[in-house]
Amino acid sequence: MQTPEFQGTHLFDRLCWAKERLEPVQSDYRVVYEDSVDGCARVLIPDPNFCAAYLQGGILPPIEVYWALADDEAKPDFKRHTRGYLLHETQPIEAGTMEQCIEYLIMKDLPRHIWQTWDSGNKPKMVICHKDQLPSTREWRNAWKIKDDLTTEKIAA
């Protein structure tokens, strides 16, 4: 299915278009990350409608748009977005793979200090895995941690 020329169309309208026409895509990928030493590991679960829009292409804005809005919101005098047009008027990104979709979501929805320094400590702060590699029960969910013996070399391998 051909994506219409969406540059200049409100992003929400594009998402409604996508939801009406595209089958949701359930990803088996999960991103496990640790935001603090004391806290448990957190897990990113991709949204199936978002994945469908990413794989389709021509719908979502470049990741830099989200960073610009996050920078605006981080300012102390922020009240409301005045550059929301960036979401709607920036040329949408082309279709990508599911792996690229996961990279996009990491950079969009995880704290920057996690993905920018994921391999700088004694063990990785972030791991991309498959759903079936997570613990099989949530009984001890608040004790989940990334394994101490996991190294960045093992992940790269």
Binding site: P4, T9, H10, L11, F12, D13, L15, C16, W17, K19, P24, Q26, G39, C40, R42, V43, L44, I45, P46, D47, P48, N49, F50, A53, L60, Y66, L69, A70, E73, K79, R80, H81, G84, L87, L105, K108, D109, L110, K131, D132, Q133, L134, P135, S136, T137, R138, R141, N142, W144
Partner: protein
């Protein structure tokens, strides 16, 4: 986009008219229905359906961050969450909160009647407000 209708008002033959602004302002800008107690061995989909969300961040038991695809215009929107756990006894007085609003995400907290965090089999949320 094909099929676009531009109108400032919608008029019913007998019930009167309403400004389309009411429809736009009053429509949900994001919503989700997901399985908060999903496990690795679960074959059911984690997110059953949604609109305008990019991720669910599972922060721990009964604690989920929902990220918007099309950001909200400010952090003064209205988010409402609901649902239930599989525990019939706890259903009587379990409760959920929405906290930590930003224009890019917010958090749902699910508890049992003793305010202890619990994963709910049915977790839902809807958001009203202004988009960026």
């Amino acid at each position: 986009m094909a099929g676009k209708i531009i109108a400032d008002q919608i008029e019913h033959s007998t019930a009167g008219s309403v400004s389309t602004q009411y429809v736009i302002e009053g429509s949900a800008k994001a919503w989700i229905n997901f399985q908060g107690d999903s496990t690795a061995s679960d074959t059911a989909d984690y997110t059953r359906d949604s609109l305008n969300l990019s991720v669910t961040l599972d922060n721990g038991t009964g604690n989920y961050t929902l990220g918007f695809t099309s950001n909200m215009g400010n952090a003064n929107y209205c988010a409402v969450s609901s649902g239930h756990s599989t525990n019939i006894v706890e259903r009587n007085s379990q409760h959920t909160h929405v906290v930590a609003f930003t224009t890019s995400n917010f958090i749902i907290l699910c508890n049992n009647s003793s305010s202890l965090a619990r994963d709910w089999a049915l977790s839902t949320a809807t958001v009203h407000g202004d988009l960026a």
